[in-house]
C-alpha cells in the first residue's frame, strides 16, 4: 500500500476522468441500470464481489464472479430476466478513493464503499461494506475497468445480493 509520500504522480486530467468514472458507475448501479453497467468494463475484465475472508486467504471463490465482458453481460441479463426478488433501492457511498500505483499506463485504484439497501417495507440496512480494488485503463471510449474486485468485510450477507456492487 502506498502512502502519500510514495503515491504516484497523477495528472489533473486523469484525476478528473477517474472522478467522473466513479461517479457515473455509482449512479448506474444505484439506478439498477443493468443495461448500461457492462459498458464500464473492458473485454478482458475481471469483476468479482468477494468476501474478505476468501480474498485474504487466497481462495478463488467469489459471490459474483465474472471473467470477461461476456460474463458481465450474462450477469446483467440473468439478473434482469431470470431471477425473482423483492423490490429494493440501493445506495453506494464511496470514500477515500486513491490511485495506489500506475503500471503500464494502468491506474490501480483503491477506495472504500458502503452499500445501503432499502427493501420493500423495511428500514434501510447496511448490505455491504468493503473496498474496491480496481485497475482502470484508458480506451477510445474513455476510462474502463480492467479489474474491479469488490472485497466486502461482512462475515455474511443479509439474505441476497441481487444487483452488482
Amino acid at each position: 500500500m502506498n502512502d502519500s509520500n510514495t503515491a504516484p504522480c497523477i495528472s489533473d486530467e486523469l484525476e478528473r476522468d477517474l472522478r467522473h468514472l466513479y461517479e457515473d458507475y455509482t449512479d448506474t448501479v444505484d439506478s439498477q441500470d443493468l443495461e448500461t453497467w457492462p459498458s464500464y468494463f473492458t473485454e478482458d475484465c475481471l469483476y468479482q464481489v468477494i468476501s474478505r475472508e476468501n480474498h485474504e486467504a487466497g481462495l478463488p471463490h467469489a459471490t459474483i464472479h465474472c471473467v470477461g465482458l461476456a460474463m458481465v453481460r450474462d450477469r446483467a441479463l440473468a439478473t434482469r430476466e431470470c431471477t425473482v426478488y423483492e423490490p429494493r433501492y440501493l445506495r453506494h457511498f464511496l470514500q477515500r478513493l486513491r490511485v495506489t500505483d500506475i503500471v503500464n499506463e494502468e491506474a490501480h485504484v483503491r477506495g472504500g464503499f458502503l452499500l445501503i439497501e432499502s427493501v420493500s417495507d423495511e428500514a434501510p440496512r447496511i448490505l455491504l461494506t468493503g473496498h474496491y480494488l480496481d485497475v482502470v485503463v484508458r480506451t477510445p471510449e474513455g476510462l474502463k475497468f480492467r479489474q474491479r474486485l469488490c472485497v466486502y468485510d461482512n462475515f455474511r450477507i443479509h439474505n441476497s445480493l441481487v444487483f452488482p456492487v
Binding site: V49, S51, E53, N54, A57, L59, P60, H61, A62, T63, I64, H65, C66, V67, G68, L69, A70, M71, R73, D74, R75, L77, A78, T79, E81, C82, T83, V84, Y85, E86, F155, R156, I157, H158, N159, S160, L161, V162
Partner: protein, 416 residues
C-alpha cells in the same frame, strides 16, 4: 362480528398440535415457536445427529484449526499428529471461547481469559497460577487436570469431509447415513484429495426448517427457478429420483438432465419459459465428471446439504441463528488434481448458487416472504400432497414426498 369481544378472545393459548390429516399437512406455528425451536436445537443439532464441520483440506497441517458452528454451539476443528479432533470452543474453566479467529495455526489451545492451556486433542495441560503466588491461593492440592479437558466430540472423516457429533449414543456415521446416502456421498468424495475453493455465508431471515424443506422440494425447482428452465439445467421432464432415507431423516435426490421423457412438451407448458442465450456458455455447460450424467442433491439431517450441481461441488451448512433466522454457509470445493479448465468451470458455475446465485437468490428471497407469512398467520396450515400422501421414493420431480417423509420422522422424534 356478532359476539362480544370477551367471548371471542381465547381464554388460554391455542393448543399447538399437528393437524389430524397427518403428514400431508404442516402447521405454520412450528416455524415461529420459541420453545419448539429450543427443543430442536437441543435434540437435533446438539443431540443424536452427525454434523458437517469442514473439509480436511481446510486444516492441512498439524496445528491448523478452524472454528465451526453446530447450531449455536461453537466447536474447534483441529489437526494433530494423529488426525482430526473436534472439541467444544468452550474453556473447561469458566466457559469462555478459546478460539476467536475463524482459522489459524497453533501449538496449544489457550483460553485468553485465565490462560488455561489445552493440547490439540483438548486435554488440559496447564492451569495458570496452579500453585498460587508466594504460597498463597492456587488450586486445591487434589485438583486433577485430567478431569478438566475440553469436551470432545465424536468425529467421522469421509473422503476428506469432517463430521462431528455431541452424542455418545448416535450410531456410527456410515450407519447413520444409510447405504444410499453413503453411496451418493462417496461418489463425490471417493478419497480423491479435495481443494477448498472458498466459503460463502448468508443470513436468510427464515426458520431453519423452511430452508431445510426447500432443499428437499424438487417440485419448486422448475417453477420458481426460471434460470434452470431457460438453460435446460433442471427440467420437469428430466428423470428425477426423489428418495427419502432412514425413515425420512435424510433425503437423496438426483437427476439426469440429459435424459428426457417425451418430446419436451412439459417444459413448453411452463409459462415463463423462453430462449435466452448466454454469451459465456461455460457457466451452464455440464461436464460429466462421474460418467453417469447425474446431478445430485443430498440432505443429511439436520444441517448438511451436499450438492453436485453440474460441476459445482458444495456442502451447505444450515446454522439456525434464532427461531426466524438461519445462516447458510456454503463450502465450495473441487479436486486437488483439477486442471485449470475444470477449476475455471467450477468457479464460473458457482454464479448460480449462494446469496447472488441466479438460482439460489430466488430461494433466499422467497423464504423470507414465507417466514413473514407463517409467523403472521401462525394458525394456518400448509398442504403437501404433490405426488400422493405417502413417503415412498418416487421417480419424478412433481412430488413433495421429501417434505412428508421429513415430517413423519420429525413428529416421531419430537412426539408431536
Amino acid at each position: 362480528m356478532t359476539q362480544g369481544i370477551s367471548t371471542v378472545l381465547p381464554s388460554s393459548p391455542v393448543k399447538r398440535g399437528w393437524p389430524e390429516e397427518g403428514i400431508t399437512r404442516v402447521p405454520a406455528w412450528i416455524y415461529s415457536d420459541p420453545d419448539l425451536y429450543r427443543r430442536e436445537l437441543n435434540e437435533f443439532f446438539g443431540g443424536d445427529s452427525w454434523n458437517f464441520v469442514g473439509l480436511e483440506c481446510e486444516v492441512p497441517e498439524v496445528g491448523s484449526f478452524k472454528r465451526a458452528w453446530i447450531a449455536d454451539r461453537q466447536v474447534i476443528v483441529v489437526r494433530d499428529a494423529d488426525g482430526i479432533n473436534v472439541v467444544e470452543n468452550r474453556c473447561s474453566h469458566r466457559g469462555g471461547a478459546i478460539v476467536w479467529q475463524n482459522k489459524g495455526k497453533t501449538k496449544m489451545l489457550t483460553c485468553p481469559y485465565h490462560q488455561w492451556g489445552f493440547d490439540l486433542k483438548g486435554n488440559c495441560r496447564g492451569v495458570s497460577l496452579k500453585r498460587g503466588v508466594h504460597g498463597e491461593g492456587g488450586m486445591p492440592e487434589d485438583f486433577d487436570m485430567e478431569k478438566h479437558g475440553l469436551c470432545k466430540l465424536r468425529v467421522a472423516c469421509v473422503g476428506g469431509s469432517i463430521w462431528a457429533t455431541f452424542s455418545g449414543t448416535v450410531p456410527p456415521f456410515e450407519e447413520y447415513c444409510g447405504p444410499v446416502a453413503m453411496q451418493r456421498l462417496t461418489r463425490l468424495m471417493p478419497g480423491r484429495s479435495l481443494r477448498m475453493l472458498g466459503q460463502s455465508r448468508q443470513l436468510i431471515p427464515c426458520n431453519w426448517k423452511l430452508y431445510f424443506e426447500n432443499t428437499r422440494d424438487p417440485y419448486h425447482g422448475t417453477l420458481l427457478h426460471t434460470f434452470f428452465i431457460t438453460f435446460g439445467l433442471y427440467r420437469a421432464d428430466s428423470r428425477h429420483v426423489t428418495a427419502p432415507q432412514q425413515g425420512g431423516m435424510h433425503s437423496v435426490n438426483f437427476a439426469a438432465p440429459g435424459e428426457r421423457k417425451g418430446d419436451g412438451s412439459i417444459t413448453r407448458e411452463l409459462k415463463r419459459f423462453r430462449d435466452i442465450k448466454l454469451n459465456d456458455m461455460e457457466a451452464v455447460q455440464f461436464v460429466d465428471e462421474y460418467g453417469d450424467g447425474e446431478m445430485t442433491a443430498m440432505q443429511l439431517f439436520p444441517g448438511a446439504f451436499v450438492q453436485q450441481h453440474a460441476n459445482i461441488l458444495a456442502i451447505r451448512t444450515i446454522i439456525p441463528k434464532g427461531v426466524g433466522e438461519t445462516e447458510v454457509d456454503w463450502t465450495y470445493f473441487g479436486y486437488a488434481d483439477d486442471d485449470e479448465k475444470m477449476q475455471r468451470i467450477r468457479l464460473k458455475q458457482a454464479n448460480l448458487l449462494g446469496p447472488s446465485g441466479f438460482v439460489s437468490m430466488d430461494d433466499s428471497e422467497l423464504l423470507k416472504q414465507m417466514q413473514n407469512q407463517v409467523a403472521g398467520y401462525h394458525e394456518s396450515i400448509g398442504v403437501v400432497e404433490m405426488g400422493g400422501r405417502d413417503v415412498k421414493p418416487q421417480v419424478t420431480m412433481a412430488t413433495e414426498v421429501g417434505i412428508r417423509a421429513f415430517y413423519d420422522f420429525y413428529r416421531h422424534r419430537l412426539g408431536l
